[in-house]
Symmetry: C2
Subunit: 198 residues, 2 copies
């Protein structure tokens, strides 16, 4: 008979091995040095670092540690569902169904209590209604513009993105969760697009 | 004149852009599917996930959120100092000096209050004396054995590692910070080495 600690660890380690696959999910964006596309595991690490560094941009009532936990888990569903580029043409309803199924499968590998906790945290992130989730979503949106400004437009050029589209898809969630950050970033983005039009 | 929020954000974003380089620091170990070497950014993400999943292996007084913050920062020094493979022949004193200089340079890019906080957390991790740091060190050591067991020995074979060396370099820190985890892992490692000797 397997003792309960062993059975629990067997399930947890199986989940952690499965999670390794997130290192092979590629995003539309590249590293700052342009050498290759970024994967979703290293992206997750980077935006958790953004969260810790930019913690004082969060509104009252935001728990930075809960936001970090959310961002640690938020992209795992891409192991089954893939990454949906924010500026690509994506069927969002179909994608939401695929991601929900992925969350059930992946978090379902864990001991029941833990799987339920992780699923609830991921659902809170996706719903983007709580202050923690809104800050997490803002941070998740801010890394790519910082990168694109550094790399002559990066994925904005690849996807023919306009400033109006950016205001809607990127500006809106950043402004909602971290208005000071958007106030800092928006003029830089506007200057970039003005220089391209000139 | 630059307002204080702008100056603070300028410094913070410069640090976050510099941190992108951790995605290009390669480790001795490979992905579970064997397709390429793992980098230190995605490794950091993975062991933070290990920490959250294996939280109930931590002793009393361990703050999981502080451990996650430690592991988020712990490898950044490799941007300047490179990764020192645990089983490679490394001059540990020289490495410690290089890493300390790297920590001063990198965390020195941040606003002073924040840079000092991050440096203190990194130093606490390196000292491996507090319960949080000892759990962080245990988790940092556990991912590679799990991976190597999955991949016919992986970096153990590349570096000709013996079970005795593993007990010292890997077993000791895991047992100290997460004894239940070592009790689960040690028989699997011993069985692997026994099968190789047979």
């Amino acid at each position: 008979m397997t003792d309960p600690n062993t059975a629990r660890l067997d399930a947890q380690i199986a989940f952690l091995k499965e999670a390794d696959k997130l290192k092979s999910v590629l995003r539309a964006s590249k590293l700052i040095d342009g050498t290759r596309h970024e994967n979703s595991a290293e992206h997750s690490w980077h935006i958790m670092l953004y969260t810790l560094v930019l913690a004082d941009q969060a509104g009252p009532g935001v728990s930075i540690d809960r936001v970090i936990r959310m961002l640690l888990l938020h992209d795992l569903v891409e192991i089954d569902a893939g990454d949906a580029p924010i500026h690509g043409s994506v069927d969002h309803a179909a994608m939401a169904i695929k991601e929900a199924a992925a969350a059930r499968r992946l978090f379902g590998m864990l001991p029941e209590d833990q799987g339920a906790d992780f699923l609830a945290l991921w659902q809170e992130f996706e719903a983007a209604e709580s202050p923690d989730a809104q800050f997490a979503k803002a941070i998740d949106r801010v890394q790519t513009p910082v990168l694109n400004l550094e790399t002559d437009g990066g994925s904005w050029i690849d996807y023919n993105v306009t400033l109006e589209q950016l205001d809607l898809r990127v500006g809106k969630p950043i402004h909602r969760g971290a208005p000071g950050l958007w106030a800092w970033l928006r003029p830089k983005i506007a200057a970039f697009f003005a220089s391209r039009a000139a």
